[in-house]
Symmetry: C2
Subunit: 624 residues, 2 copies
Amino acid sequence: MTQQINQETLGVEQWHSLAQQLRVDSIRSSSGAGSGHPTSSMSAADLLAVLMSKYLRYDFDKPENPNNDHLIFSKGHASPLLYSVYKAAGAISDDELLTFREFHSRLQGHPTPQIPWVDVATGSLGQGLPIGVGVALAGKYLDKLPYRVWVLCGDSEMAEGSMWEAFQHAAFYKLDNLTAILDMNRLGQTRETMDGWHGDHYAARAEAFGWHAIQIDGHNPEEIDQAYAEAQDQTDKPTVIIAQTKKGRGVSFLEDVDGMHGKPVAGDEVQAALDELGSSDDLLVEVRKPDPGSGENFSAGLTGELILPTWEVGDEEATRGAYGLALKALGGAREDVVALDGEVSNSTKSEEFAQEYPDRYFEMFIAEQQMVSAAVGMSVRHRVPFASSFAAFLSRAYDFIRMAAISRANIRLSGSHAGVSIGEDGPSQMALEDIAMMRAVHGSTVLQPCDANQTARLVAEMADTDGIVFLRTLRPKTPVIYDPSEEFPIGGSKTIRSSDEDAVTIVASGITVPEATKAADELQKSDVAVRLIDAYSIKPIDSDALREASQATGGKVIAVEDHWPEGGLGEAVLSALSEESDILHFEHLAVENMPGSGKSEELLDAAGIDASHIAAAVHKLLNA
Amino acid sequence: MTQQINQETLGVEQWHSLAQQLRVDSIRSSSGAGSGHPTSSMSAADLLAVLMSKYLRYDFDKPENPNNDHLIFSKGHASPLLYSVYKAAGAISDDELLTFREFHSRLQGHPTPQIPWVDVATGSLGQGLPIGVGVALAGKYLDKLPYRVWVLCGDSEMAEGSMWEAFQHAAFYKLDNLTAILDMNRLGQTRETMDGWHGDHYAARAEAFGWHAIQIDGHNPEEIDQAYAEAQDQTDKPTVIIAQTKKGRGVSFLEDVDGMHGKPVAGDEVQAALDELGSSDDLLVEVRKPDPGSGENFSAGLTGELILPTWEVGDEEATRGAYGLALKALGGAREDVVALDGEVSNSTKSEEFAQEYPDRYFEMFIAEQQMVSAAVGMSVRHRVPFASSFAAFLSRAYDFIRMAAISRANIRLSGSHAGVSIGEDGPSQMALEDIAMMRAVHGSTVLQPCDANQTARLVAEMADTDGIVFLRTLRPKTPVIYDPSEEFPIGGSKTIRSSDEDAVTIVASGITVPEATKAADELQKSDVAVRLIDAYSIKPIDSDALREASQATGGKVIAVEDHWPEGGLGEAVLSALSEESDILHFEHLAVENMPGSGKSEELLDAAGIDASHIAAAVHKLLNA
């Protein structure tokens, strides 16, 4: 018999019954699947029962309602609990609940936005809270809407540094619309956490980072109720509710038992567990919809004329400089564009945007994980975030970028100071793996301009490109070779040198374009004609142009890049050429040895990727 | 005139003079280079003056002295200060100091172990302290030697979550041999830090994480002296000295001035700055050598007989299971082998080692950045660390792995649960970018076994392989196909199927080996012979075998992998084949679409990388 829970009938008894149902359903779904995390779900059932029935404001019929609260399971493995909440809210049927973890079911092992009420994918621990910070930043500073962000956190994930980045940034930005619910069930996957049930440890840390902390018994609905009320009443501070709980709560042979992580209940124990929890009615919760409010979803696109900066052919400018100015121009033309930086905005040049549009610029300090997470959170709220740092330091956030792709997030990343061309700072600051890293992200776009006008055009296109879009910029100035009127579609390329006599194709990108140009000009003097392709779009790469060039030059192709040999431009070119069978005479110039400090020219020479080495490679291919 | 500072002449006046000299030299070297970070060096000069002259125990003639303290500049951009310390210690000449940032100088923009007194490369912020935790773990629990670990930290890098992983782990492991020196100079690269000069914020956080915290005036030598003494006297707790300082201290036009980060003093201002600091004598510090002690460097290698686990052909075992048992066997034969895990040891199976050798197992909880850093720190102390987690979660530590290569660290990483074959857990747990990520690490080795005996052999070889060595293991069981007596040299491959009639070469690795074997057997029934290569060594890859096979099969090659198409096995094969010119008819089977949950077989099928798809690709190539 279905029984409706609503505000009038709310009370300890209903909360207990609802929590038991969430536990029952967590066991049923995971036992049916034969895998999953029922015990990690059961510990937080009381917390969710009170939240969904009294505090959460959510219109399940309109997940895009801008006034909806945001509920993020940072402990994504508690997905059985989340899906049981959806069932109790009437959003999914019991039949669907039991498709948990089946092929083609949207109820995957860990939540993903295939489910309309899930904002972001979780399952890599320590990501839900920093993303929640991003959503809360959007709520407080961009949307300026009263929705709240509720993040269910596990205690094991408190060991991830990213959680403390989130704590620090949330306090700095006074995110009183953010509540972290810490399900302190003491037990990790293989053992007790470092802090066990010492809620005072977590409270002291949270307070030291500037949060309001509340310690409660996480199985006492009245204490839970009181804590949520207190969290809502906070101003200028985020709140963490540290809830002491027991993993497997409610079933004697599961409760606080080590070694039960990620194990479904099986066999006769299923019925025994359900018997202990009590056969419940089919409780249905009337989750409160948000007040109609004035919120609208942001769908800006162009709101003004886009006047990109331009440079004259023959000028010199760093692509990072062009990025900064183009981003500022974009900010003027599109209100949905926001920028974030890892406290290097005078290097990445996102400072141009920051100075012009301080209300849409978010300083993320030296915390690249939080920076990317905040961008993901803002993309949940329909903003077009550009997050910038040194390309080398984006490697700090690789797990977050990987997960952002699973989240179907639309974020733009700008990585400056690519390759050995940066010079004196040395290898710690040189991105030499970033193209490999970013290519191997599902659905990503990887761009590397070589001049300022090209950069500006690509920045404008990035705003219209879905998925994870990466722009690789350079520290040194490069000559402006393209007219401001030229267009650079994503997936395209530019053939810079071409004739009927071309003997070899050179594929370059970024800093190697001017080097290859010098080589081509030098070779021309000895009557060697080469075709030179600027592969500014590394993913997707312009396979047609590459294959056509290869055919025109008898399969003689050189790829030259300021990157390790693996996973970069060279292998992208090989993959493109291998799509059709052909003879291939391939030379790959890349950074083979660990660079040190030195002048840009010295390092390009030492790496064997400057004009003279390119010319030598041409001769080698011709003599082969 | 050279003047010797030693214990007898020590005092406030000498400390001040020494600090001024360190500032002068920081300015001279960076002004000469035309780049670098003098102001970030000047803020910490007093801290280093007192440390090097009274507390540091270091034999600069014998950097490998096991009793030496360890001095790590987590704020690596303060390299001018570090090099000035080396000069003041008599370790380098003034002439060499002035080679700062020159091509081929070992005094690079950021410190690297090209310098014998530098343990690890720094320059990506937030890494020195977690690595220091690793060295301190080795000191307290492995070497059991009284050396101390001193880590100079910047306040900007306190925004990196990895610093708080270090704080938490150092306290958990009671690292009283570790002192963090926080140079709280207030100013980051572009602005004030989140906490400015609020030393109380840092102190409260450190204490909440279990550290002893001391707040001092970082320009007062007596307070600094007192703080170091107090840090040394701590038992069971690490200490952080929170030193309030001024960036650019000592020069009126640099001191506490925003906008001077990373800018050398230039032109007339150089002499003006030196004048303000006072022309100092050439002070030389007699850095105290460590007590002779009983310490010896660990150089174990085989200390017992290595009896690897074996399986019979036809058995079934997961490669992760074989990894665990082989690691345990290795632990019995080599005392230098230690293991770390990100609290998933019952998934990665490093629990086998943990249970047998608990004294050499370090639980790093869910903190992959700290896990890799600790491994790097232990490799500094000549241990052979194996760090394990899900391969997907190693992406969390990519920046640390990248830097470990610059550190010339020797670490072994085991990443389990690779690819869609894991099944129901879904994409957040599936490593599909790990091969791309690990290949694009300088000097790395990337291995993927397909059966248990092969895994065991490779684990043994990993211990003898320098650099960053990555083993990719599988969740599901796979059939044992190799005899225990077979050997699998790194850089080699195994040709599993071969005949004179081979029409197509199939290159597989890991889970796709059994799939390709099934396909080959099926094709054989219709008289299609294929050559099947097990590329267990993905980097270095067996180029000779691949080219020979390609030539034998008319350039018809299929690569099949449980990984995104970019940067993985397929592109490694293409790179190898492209080393020599040839006709190529290439088919690449990889995971193209975002997977969900499901059974392993369902997901391999959906990704188009199972036996039936491999067979289809063979037919496609034959009919091309």
